[in-house]
Homo-oligomer: 433 residues x 2
Amino acid sequence: MTTIVDVEVHDVRFPTAASGDGSDAINRGDYSATYVELTTDGGPTGTGFTFTNGRGNEITCAAVRALAHHVRGRTVAEIAAEPVAFWRSLAADVQLRWLGPEKGVIHMATGALVNAVWDLRAKLAGKPMWRLLAEMPTDELVATVDFHHITDALTPDEAAAILDKGRDGLADRLAGLERDGFPSYTTSVGWLGYPDEQVRALTRDAYAAGWRAMKMKVGGRIEDDLRRARIIRAEIGPDALLMMDANQVWDVDEAIAAMGVLAEVDPYWIEEPTHADDVLGHARIARAVTELTGGRCRVATGEVAANKVIFKQLLQAEAIGVMQIDACRVGGVDEVLAELLLAAKFGVPVCPHAGGVGLCEYVQHLAIFDHLRVGTSLDGRMVEYVDHLHEHFTDPVRTRDGRYLVPTVPGYSATMRPESIARFRFPDGPAWR
Amino acid sequence: MTTIVDVEVHDVRFPTAASGDGSDAINRGDYSATYVELTTDGGPTGTGFTFTNGRGNEITCAAVRALAHHVRGRTVAEIAAEPVAFWRSLAADVQLRWLGPEKGVIHMATGALVNAVWDLRAKLAGKPMWRLLAEMPTDELVATVDFHHITDALTPDEAAAILDKGRDGLADRLAGLERDGFPSYTTSVGWLGYPDEQVRALTRDAYAAGWRAMKMKVGGRIEDDLRRARIIRAEIGPDALLMMDANQVWDVDEAIAAMGVLAEVDPYWIEEPTHADDVLGHARIARAVTELTGGRCRVATGEVAANKVIFKQLLQAEAIGVMQIDACRVGGVDEVLAELLLAAKFGVPVCPHAGGVGLCEYVQHLAIFDHLRVGTSLDGRMVEYVDHLHEHFTDPVRTRDGRYLVPTVPGYSATMRPESIARFRFPDGPAWR
């Protein structure tokens, strides 16, 4: 019976802003992690984090400290026996809920803690996270989801039916993944901070390395966006997929106008065409883009979708053709489960958001679980891949020919190397002094 | 030329949780303020705050500190000349935006700073906030609004037309307000923490004091809600208005079922019937409630609406019949202006949320500006009133016969008494030691 005896938080920041890595229409930062360690009375240490963009990482750290009393002193068995009660103790704290509810700083901190508990559970079980989840009985998985505020779109019975059906063919799907890996795409070719020739060279390298799906940033001047898009399309030929990401910079009508121009290069999706909270705006853009491209292009969003209530509505309004869950924007694994089940119910493929710090490490588990146990096909499913900062993790992602290999180490792949934490701790680590 | 030389933040908390004041279906806290002082090179001090519910007030304080560099060293003239650029420096900081965007902790901190700047501007102009705004030329008011992400619902030209038309009859409306005050309603009668006899006694007192509109909390057991509602209705008679507030506790279908029961007591509105982010859910509830009550009851929400993009959608989806702006949930006066103009465009009355700490003090200015300069009628418009904590402000609200009297002191009525700050400062003030 393992007890969580303490919660430690580290403010870890990597100085990426200077290089233009990760620059887009709206963000330019130092990729950072609010990194949580749950120490136990003798067992392994549970680790989790939320990703931030540099400045303000101290705010999410403060939020973790404000929530830590809900975790400290709890036994893992207790939490596993009543997962919704545990989740609500964080997400619906009678005083802290006002700071969200279930959004932004306070919810990201909830996610860091919840994910650290899952990492601990997986380590105790001796299984990688995806396997721990995939092998759970249906009733245990359903009991992990807080259905509050989503029952108008998904009931516990519907969730159970999806998960029961998801058992069919699981062994075959697992064999396929272990043989071929999970499909992915790369975002490393077209950050807004990169000049044209760098975009061309990176695209050529990525294509040579086996990537057949690539994402570029748009939302600068439309003629610049189009010129860069043509460069990439020319390098990858007509059959590879080219995705675009506007990072919310456009108004609704601007997005529709821009896609009228960019349709020329046959984009596979337009990601974050407008403000992340604008469900109705996304729905209008989706209808327009479908019409503009004869259905060849779809709308994608999710990395900044605050919670499952936003995802529910994006699905209800038919606003998205691709759902991009994020592992630590929302309240951790429990809430992601709800989102995967909602997507399955509505028949929309999930392509997780990754990049940043450790997001690739996290989401590979979620995508694999989705395929294995929610029983979704690989058709239209890819995990984002960005080749940054993996060296700081003890169990970094491994890829081959543009596909993620199945993780095998127990846990949620969320553990950072102690020397990286020490070196990049803000503001006192040697990298920042 | 006044320069803001420093930004001070105080964590001020009032121990209200123990008394049951402010208790509802989802919140139970110590009413608190993240209180900001902008010191200047010789001029008055600008003050502003965001309201929180106790625990976590240190997180919004940290967020104010993270944003303060956008304010420190700026001149008031500079900010007034380019208000949208200033507002975006806070709301769209390239690193901090990730923590929202425009929601929760980081946006509430933006609001505290932005409101403090407005308080300073009003003090420098020697005018109460409502008058500073009401007397501004149309083009200056329009230039204060960031239309990014709302142009599909409201253009700058439409806003200008509303404000130009709003000048008609302004003097008469002002004379009316100065004679009669602004209508309000009271929420002090029916907190969930109060027993039946206390509810009856408070209702009787409020009615005797002139209140003809009262709000109760619902969302407990439906039979308890109904019993308490019957007590209040019996005390106030058939003609006074009875509003209900569920504080987001219901799922969409539960809300519809509960209103089927509570319709018996002829509620005027149902507030926050479900999750604050659920635009589509509110729209479904609004259609059902209209049908259940023959249009006598409407849906209200807004105190937890994260930003103008959420309000835009609530209006577009016809999800609300009453829009409840909050003075410090969103990014301050600039964003509230956008919300008032959106409401006017869609013809939905604004009844500001108040209570907490200092919210009554803030929103009276916004409601008066709405009536005077946006040119809206008083029909269906009321400001919430809660009789708590006014004694801590240097210019507290004044009411007469259930109406707010027009404030006359220069500023935004947001200045706390120094002795209150000292006494309730957390954790070192004498009230907390």
